[in-house]
């Protein structure tokens, strides 16, 4: 008896758990969606949607508001969302302009009635349902824009633009969604009265969703209408929607199609394999064709998001992003290397610490962070350094002596040039002197025997006669000089 009860309780518990962990079944709802390429039909309409205001639907995008002042445009789904209570909306959008700041913003709506043109990001105020705003402009000066905010309304409240609805919004997150190289993706999920919003950063072609907000106990109107709107003010951005995909969500029990009708796994696998094979073949063919006819390959109608976006500013931005990414990568590499080095050092220090204990070498206080080979290297390099310093010293000494010598030589050279003549003169004078001395010596020897013997054979001239002769001679010379000078004077007249 008790065992059956326990079993029953267990079964209930299991069922509850299963109900909670039920995989969600997702169905694409084309009647509530639109997507580039060929977003609009030839006449500019979108099937199942109303486009009004300044909104323009073209093949590549739905431009809700162009980058001109004070424009507003809306697009609303004509069909009410009756397929399920729960939904998921994937939106790819592009908001951007030349200015550093943009305005006003873009709204994504799920309302109980069709929307109309109005003041809340292009759509009407006093709505019933949900409005998700991509608010570019900071009206309240809180420096928290661009932000993504969610506001619920029961049809009685008016959105307060001056405060960016800060008192009214349910939740918000600050995200820069302007001027991104790729479309920014927003995913809104409403399942079991839990509303979650994920926003992608628009930095790469494959979306990278990050949670922006999550709110529980949300009750949205049933059978509502999806809509989008945008408005510009004094500042203006382009507000484009590229993809608006609505999925209805079901629990496994609510699944509209029984599993029996599904394709058996094996068969499906076979088909998938064939598809893969064909796809590969096609890719190969295409690349071959591109090589063979590079001129014929032109921009075709294939979906290539970057094609729709790349204007001058976007390109510039993309280049900046790419270079930043490259820098980032290099820095990451450096970081990695640094970590490696640090690790190596730590292990080296451990080894160094272990060495003194075993080898008995006194620990070096400075060498805590060095490994043994590094130390050796440092020592050898130091040795090299001292050696080279020594060499340098030698050179300097050499240079010094050489310059000293040169200096000396220059000084000697200066004296030598003058003394070269002098020395030869000197020698001559010396030799003359020597000769004079020998002459004198011989003279002294010859006149050695006596005073009278000075002029032994010659009759000596008396000093008075000698003096007389000198006086006469000098008188004659003076007279001659006098006469000559007189003659000069006469000549002068």
């Amino acid at each position: 008896m008790t065992s059956t009860r326990v079993l029953l309780v267990l079964l209930i518990v299991i069922n509850v758990i299963r109900a909670q962990n039920n995989p969600v079944f997702k169905k694409f709802e084309y009647k509530h969606s639109f997507r580039a390429p060929n977003l609009a039909q030839r006449d500019g309409s979108i099937p199942f949607w109303i486009v009004s205001g300044d909104a323009i639907a073209s093949g590549e995008q739905l431009r809700l508001a162009p980058s001109m002042r004070s424009r507003k445009g809306i697009a609303w789904n004509k069909r009410a969302f009756v397929e399920s209570e729960n939904f998921q909306v994937d939106i790819a959008l592009k908001i951007g302009g030349q200015g550093r700041v943009g305005a006003d913003g873009l709204g994504i709506w799920y309302t109980s009635q069709l929307g109309a043109l109005g003041p809340v990001f292009g759509a009407n105020d006093f709505w019933t349902g949900m409005g998700l705003f991509m608010d570019s402009f900071d009206n309240d000066g809180q420096k928290n824009n661009p932000q993504v905010s969610l506001m619920l309304n029961d049809g009685t409240r008016s959105y307060d633009h001056h405060t960016d609805g800060s008192q009214q919004i349910l939740s918000s997150c600050q995200r820069d969604f302007r001027n991104k190289p790729y479309p920014v993706r927003v995913r809104i999920e409403y399942m079991k009265n839990v509303l979650t919003v994920h926003v992608d950063d628009g930095m790469q072609p494959t979306p990278r969703y990050e949670l922006c907000m999550r709110a529980e106990n949300i009750f949205l109107p049933r059978n509502g209408y999806f809509g989008v709107s945008a408005a510009t003010g004094g500042l203006a951005d382009d507000h484009d929607i590229l993809d608006f995909s609505v999925f209805s969500l079901f629990n496994e029990q609510q699944k509209p199609v029984p599993a029996a009708e599904q394709i058996p796994q094996q068969e499906k696998q076979k088909y998938d394999e064939e598809f893969e094979r064909q796809m590969k073949e096609y890719e190969q063919e295409r690349s071959k064709f591109k090589e063979q006819h590079p001129d014929k390959v032109k921009e075709d109608d294939e979906y290539d998001p970057s094609k729709y976006y790349e204007d001058a500013t976007a390109r510039e931005l993309r280049l900046i992003y790419e270079s930043q990414n490259a820098i980032h990568q290099v820095m990451q590499n450096m970081d990695q290397r640094l970590a490696q080095i640090q690790q190596a050092q730590l292990s080296g220090a451990g080894a160094a610490a272990a060495v003194p204990q075993t080898g008995g070498v006194p620990p070096v206080s400075g060498g805590a962070g060095f490994s043994q080979p590094e130390k050796n290297e440092v020592i050898t390099s130091l040795r090299d350094l001292t050696q080279s310093v020594r060499d340098m010293k030698q050179y300097v000494n050499e240079i010094f002596t050489k310059t000293y010598n040169i200096d000396q030589k220059i000084q000697q050279g200066g004296g030598g040039a003058a003394g070269g003549v002098d020395s030869s003169m000197h020698q001559k004078v010396d030799s003359l002197l020597n000769e004079l001395r020998t002459v004198r010596a011989t003279q002294v020897q010859t006149s050695g025997p006596g005073g009278s013997a000075n002029c032994p054979n010659v009759s000596c001239v008396s000093s008075t006669i000698f003096m007389l002769i000198i006086i006469v001679q000098s008188a004659i010379i003076i007279g001659v000089v006098f006469v000559r000078s007189k003659q000069d004077k006469a000549k002068f007249y």
């Binding site: 079944f25 997702k26 169905k27 694409f28 709802e29 084309y30 009647k31 969606s33 639109f34 997507r35 390429p37 060929n38 039909q41 030839r42 006449d43 309409s45 099937p47 199942f48 004509k78 993809d243 999925f247 209805s248 699944k255 509209p256 199609v257 009708e261 599904q262 394709i263 068969e267 499906k268 076979k270 088909y271 998938d272 064939e274 598809f275 064909q278 796809m279 073949e281 096609y282 063919e285 295409r286 071959k288 064709f289 063979q292 006819h293 014929k296 390959v297 032109k298 075709d300 109608d301 294939e302 979906y303």
Partner: protein, 126 residues
């Protein structure tokens, strides 16, 4: 009164015959080699396509966003698209009619009911 009725009947029959002329993934569409070749122009060298290739390229050319699924939007575009043979085609497909056509295709092909046709679902019908 009678003439009005007559006119309306004629109009209705013409309208239906025009719109119901658009089909998706029927035998004649899938093997419409001329049309497929038009799409493959300047992409690959086409001489002769095998049946398998025809099937693949028909699927691939309608998978506009290249997510390997064909959804309702793409079916609708497949049904309404042309290559400029009718440049003065008036207002685009009537929505009710479009809905009927697309739903018919989805009912037919989308066996797991996720709103999109994958390649296995598509091939199974061929």
């Amino acid at each position: 009164m009678r003439t009005l009725l007559f006119i309306s009947i004629v109009f209705f029959t013409v309208f239906v015959s025009v719109t119901s002329g658009a089909t998706f993934a029927e035998e004649k569409d899938v093997h419409d080699e001329g049309h497929i070749k038009q799409h493959l122009e300047n992409k690959i060298e086409v001489e002769k396509l095998t049946e398998e290739q025809q099937r693949f390229h028909y699927f691939s050319m309608h998978d506009l966003n290249k997510d390997n699924y064909i959804d309702g939007i793409e079916i609708l575009k497949a049904l309404t698209h042309d290559h400029g043979e009718h440049p003065t085609a008036g207002p685009s497909t009537d929505e009710g009619e479009a809905e009927r056509l697309v739903d018919a295709v989805l009912d037919d092909l989308d066996s797991n009911g996720d709103g999109v046709i994958d390649y296995s679902e598509y091939l199974r019908r061929q």
